[in-house]
């Protein structure tokens, strides 16, 4: 039993290290608006985004549909994890970043580097119903 446990732990270390060595670097082409749009459409059933913005560092993004509902894409490994923002979601600017506090504790706050687009999206989130 002990040998088996050691083998498993060693195996985990080996495989995770290998995954990090082979695939750990950032992809050569960081995601863009298109990817945020696709991710929102794919992840949220019946949600049809009309516009999207991607973080300048490729980390995370926002989308909005025709009714003004805003969806957030949180960077999660090499994928996005999406949520439709509930009305009244707390949002603010901090050091030039947009901070969106989702109401789920384990999903947490998402920091977005949107550059000049930030104020417009901040307003959209505040107005979102």
């Amino acid at each position: 039993m002990l040998t088996q446990a050691l083998l498993s732990v060693g195996g985990i270390a080996l495989i995770v290290t290998l995954a990090w060595l082979l695939f750990g670097r950032a992809p050569s082409e960081p995601p863009g608006e298109r990817d945020v749009m696709d991710a929102a459409r794919a992840a949220l059933p019946l949600y049809r985004p009309v516009r999207a913005v991607c973080g300048r560092d490729g980390r995370g993004g926002l989308a909005v549909d025709a009714q003004g509902r805003v969806a957030i894409m949180k960077p999660h490994g090499s994928h996005f994890s999406a949520r439709l923002l509930a009305p009244g979601t707390p949002v603010r600017m901090e050091d030039g970043r947009l901070i969106v506090e989702t109401k789920e504790r384990m999903f947490g706050a998402v920091r977005l580097d949107l550059g000049e687009a930030a104020p417009e999206w901040l307003a959209m989130i505040e107005e979102a119903r």
Binding site: Q4, I12, A19, G77, R83, A86, M106
Partner: protein, 310 residues
């Protein structure tokens, strides 16, 4: 009869095959997306934890099996054909369990762990629940102990689990047609892990896909629609404790806030995505593509994001 534990024997092969798959993907130049080390770490920790949980709660499983086998109806012996029958019966029991695991939120709360990765590779196969035995998911196999020796049943279900390892890959496109017709394959199981509406709650098979064909839950892999893996509402977390417990927490919250006892029961026994006020979508509704105006109406009166199914 003393039979080996197939899962324990297979661990070195699991490690070698994962390394081989990674090397294969890397050599083909697909450096992004297929393995993500944090995702893989979470999957492997879930697998390791599930073996520990299995040992901790083994008493429940073995005790129930021994209890039922007191009432054994026949003694079929240990012939090869008995093994074959036992494999078939166990695989059918697996189908029943797996279907319930997607259609009853109580069982889903355990099984969702296996679906919680947004990646699909061999390491995803090892992303296993810690709460399976505790949530009594073994009840579906109990009838088998009326016919077969407990050791034979445990051996067969171990082999079934080991078989399911290799089908968690995008590196095998399709197998020969006769094989795809009878057995569960990477192609069939990719559909099972995909969240594309048409793929939801399809291909429950363990080893044999024939059960899905027989009971109307089969869906072939779409030819020109890329598959997206995971759950409809992805976690956005690699924390193993949260992966293990998130749906149980969700049930507890819903039961706590439910307006009456009927709703409390339904939050446990109805399919994932059921809600007392219709504010969420079940996989059936997503499959059917609920009319957009209905979804808008829901979003208006909902305080939480309206889309929270399996």
């Amino acid at each position: 009869m003393d039979l080996p534990d197939p899962v324990a024997l297979a661990i070195p092969a699991f490690i070698l095959l994962m390394a081989a798959e990674m090397a294969w993907i890397w050599r083909r130049g697909r450096t992004a997306g297929h393995y993500e080390w944090r995702d893989t770490l979470t999957s492997l920790l879930m697998g390791f934890g599930s073996t520990i949980a299995g040992l901790l709660f083994a008493g429940m499983l073995v005790g129930s099996a021994l209890f039922v086998s007191q009432f054994r109806l026949v003694d079929l012996g240990w012939g090869w054909w008995v093994f074959l029958l036992c494999f078939l019966a166990d695989d059918l029991a697996y189908y029943a369990f797996h279907r319930a695991a997607h259609r009853v939120r109580w069982f889903w709360a355990s099984h969702v762990v296996h679906h919680s990765s947004q990646h699909y590779n061999l390491s995803t196969a090892l992303r296993q629940t810690w709460t399976g035995t505790l949530s009594l998911s073994f009840v579906f196999s109990l009838p088998l102990f009326l016919v077969f020796d407990p050791a034979m049943v445990f051996f067969c279900s171990g082999v079934n689990l080991v078989y399911q390892f290799w089908i968690h890959t995008e590196s095998v496109k399709t197998m020969p047609r006769w094989f795809e017709f009878i057995f569960n394959t990477p192609s069939h199981h990719r559909v099972h892990h995909a969240t594309n509406p048409r793929c939801l709650d399809r291909n429950y098979a363990g080893m044999l896909i024939i059960w899905d064909r027989m009971f109307g839950t089969f869906e072939p892999e779409p030819a020109n629609e890329p598959l997206r893996y995971g759950i409809v509402r992805n976690l956005g977390s690699f924390n193993p404790l949260w992966v293990a417990a998130h749906e149980w927490t969700g049930i507890a919250q819903d039961v706590w806030h439910a307006p009456d006892w009927r709703a409390r029961w339904n939050y446990i026994a109805q399919p994932p995505g059921w809600s007392h006020d219709g504010s969420r979508l079940t996989s059936e509704e997503i499959r059917a593509g609920v009319a957009p105006n209905r979804a808008e109406a829901r979003a208006d009166r909902d305080t939480a994001p309206p889309l929270r199914p399996a």
